[in-house]
């Protein structure tokens, strides 16, 4: 009878050092994951803590008064809040049809696959251009180019409050256009991913019952992909609200409230970039308050985006 010899390397107990390493590694990665929570908490704490003085002094009136005067030490963020919402929402109105249209064009087989990859790749490259370079381009190339159109708008439609001022160079209209350029790649990329995830069966079924390409896109494929697209649109809204450099360079940084999109204006992010470095005393606190508002706005939009993706997603 062969005898089983107990092999010292079989079924050995784990050495203590191995156990310690194993446990230590687990604690380490838990700690690293917790850094996200610590950071978020820290960001909120610093921004909220910095703005307490201003919150105490102005309260909610900060949101609706538009005077921003470091000399008399009176602050109200309405101009910047209006600018933030107006520029981001208007840019979304322009960017969504363009982005979704492009995404459809490069997921359908209207043109050869190589061309589609080329266009898709170029959209991705556009996302790689830093915001500050787009700002430089906006100052020296885009704004002078579109100024005649803006002057025409003012001359023909000055009875509309949005076009009621003479364009003077930097302003909200060029800022909106540069925001369109900045959020287009996000909308296009996310819409393309959502469209690609629509099961092939749906498309084949639509073609099978005799739908044309666009009938199947508008009636079958877009509704199936709508959750991802809507989420992407909201994400890009959050991005547009927080976008700083390009907007700072082209919006004109005026704290005087004006309805007109042709006049210089401000966004919260632009105001922070422009004034934070030189601010002191209660101006810092008011800027922190504005930063808190921006943070809450983007947080709200982002949470809503995540909720929407979950809520609207159809299960196939």
């Amino acid at each position: 009878m062969p005898e089983f010899k107990s092999d010292p390397f079989l079924l050995r107990r784990r050495s203590n050092s191995e156990k310690i390493v194993d446990k230590g590694f687990k604690s380490l990665v838990i700690l690293m994951a917790s850094m996200v929570a610590i950071l978020l908490f820290g960001i909120f704490l610093v921004v909220f803590g910095g703005s307490i003085e201003s919150i105490g002094r102005y309260g909610l009136a900060f949101l609706v008064t538009s005077e921003w005067n470091p000399v008399t030490d009176k602050y109200g963020a309405f101009t910047a809040i209006y600018g933030t919402l107006l520029t981001s929402i208007l840019s979304l109105f322009i960017a969504v049809p363009l982005g979704v249209g492009t995404a459809i064009f490069i997921t359908e087989d209207v043109i050869p696959a190589k061309l589609r990859f080329l266009i898709g790749g170029m959209v991705e490259l556009l996302a790689a251009i830093p915001s500050v370079v787009l700002g430089l381009w906006a100052i020296f190339v885009m704004e002078p180019f579109i100024r005649p159109f803006l002057i025409y708008l003012n001359n023909s439609f000055s009875w509309i409050p949005f076009f009621s001022t003479q364009p003077v160079g930097p302003g909200m209209a060029p800022a909106i256009l540069i925001l369109v350029v900045m959020i287009l790649p996000i909308i296009t990329a996310i819409s393309r991913d959502s469209l690609n995830q629509v099961p092939k069966k749906l498309r084949e079924a639509a073609y099978g019952v005799g739908a044309t390409r666009w009938a199947s896109i508008t009636n079958v494929i877009l509704p199936a992909a709508i959750s991802g697209i809507a989420g992407g649109v909201l994400l890009s809204l959050g991005r547009a609200m927080g976008e700083t450099m390009a907007v700072t360079m082209i919006i004109g940084n005026s704290n005087n409230f004006n309805w007109s999109i042709l006049s210089p204006g401000n966004t919260i992010a632009a105001m922070l970039a422009n004034q934070f470095g030189e601010a002191d005393g209660s101006q810092v606190s008011s800027l922190m308050f504005a930063a808190l508002i921006l943070m809450l706005l983007t947080l709200l939009v982002n949470i809503f985006a995540q909720w929407m993706v979950k809520k609207l997603s159809l299960k196939y």
Binding site: V21, A33, M35, V36, L40, V123, V133, G242, A291, M295
Partner: protein
């Protein structure tokens, strides 16, 4: 035989003039136009950077210091800004990659979809949505104004920290997703032959997922290198070279802040320097992006 008229309205033949086919063609054309409009800015920006920036590139520009703005026709070079961008991005990578990969490992390998990991995933998404200027303000409030880092205020280290906040969510997400692509057979196999979980992660799953993770890291680096907003009141700017270890605690130049500062100067020479810096920055970012795509090709199937 039934007599279905096959030449009337219900024909199965393709009729070019029917409204549905005209609509189809029209929408094809409209979406093509939209695509062209979408890529037009990229082409225009690249052309202008190429025309205005590349013509000035020479060895002096790449190695000299920038001159403080003035009427002077010579704006100097961008040598210290190029070096600064590398230094700050390196600091950010050095901080965010270990933490991000560790966080991703936790989410993919250790979490049991409990409340904590759900919260961390949610927090990662929230952190990814935090505007970059807020990251700058946070570092300013926490580090620069408190002078907590060895009594210095504006410093390369502060700038790197601000950028690392922006990189962190990307690194965590790509690590998490990359590890999830690794088949469970490898995991159970490793555990079955007696590997500890630490050995399993570091020797089996992490190497198997290294490509998507590397792609994500390179993408995060290229995004961070182009960021300006977090740097303008953390790393600030400098007209001098950063050398020696004490450079980490001094203000530092970077290409993106140089572009921002000099684009708004009223002097032609400074504006030209901003174009040259844009050319170099975009070139660097396009190279790192191509590297990321190249790495992405080898993703596990």
């Amino acid at each position: 035989m039934n007599n279905i008229p096959y030449n009337s309205k219900g024909s199965l033949n393709y009729t070019r003039v029917s409204s549905r086919n005209i609509w189809n063609k029209l929408l094809n054309v409209i979406s093509a136009c939209f695509s062209i409009i979408t890529i037009l800015p990229l082409i225009l920006v690249l052309i202008y950077i190429l025309v205005k920036g590349s013509s000035q590139i020479n060895l002096e520009l790449l190695t000299q210091l920038p001159e403080p703005p003035g009427d002077d026709l010579n704006a100097g070079g961008i040598g210290n800004a190029i070096a600064g961008t590398f230094i700050v991005t390196f600091i950010a990578t050095f901080i965010s990659v270990p933490i991000g990969v560790g966080g991703g490992i936790f989410l993919a390998e250790y979490s049991q979809d409990g409340k904590f990991s759900k919260f961390i995933r949610f927090g990662t998404n929230v952190l990814a949505g935090v505007p970059s200027i807020i990251a700058g303000i946070f570092i300013y409030g926490a580090i620069v104004s408190t002078k907590i880092l060895f009594g210095t205020n504006f410093s390369a280290l502060a700038g790197g920290l601000a950028l690392s906040i922006l990189m962190l969510p990307t690194v965590i997400k790509t690590t998490d997703e990359g590890l999830k692509l690794v088949s469970d057979g490898l995991r159970t196999g490793a555990l079955a032959v007696g590997a500890s979980k630490f050995t399993m992660v570091t020797r089996i799953t992490l190497p198997a997922a290294i490509n998507p993770i590397a792609t994500g890291i390179v993408l995060a680096i290229s995004r961070a290198a182009g960021e300006t907003a977090p740097l303008i009141f953390t790393g600030l700017f400098s007209f001098y070279w950063s050398s020696g270890p004490e450079a980490l605690l001094n203000p530092i130049a970077s290409l993106s802040v140089l572009i921002y500062n000099f684009a708004l100067e009223p002097y032609e020479a400074q504006n030209q320097l901003a174009w040259a810096a844009s050319f170099i920055l975009v070139l660097m970012l396009l190279l790192t992006n191509s590297l990321a795509r190249f790495l992405g090709r080898f993703a596990p199937k």
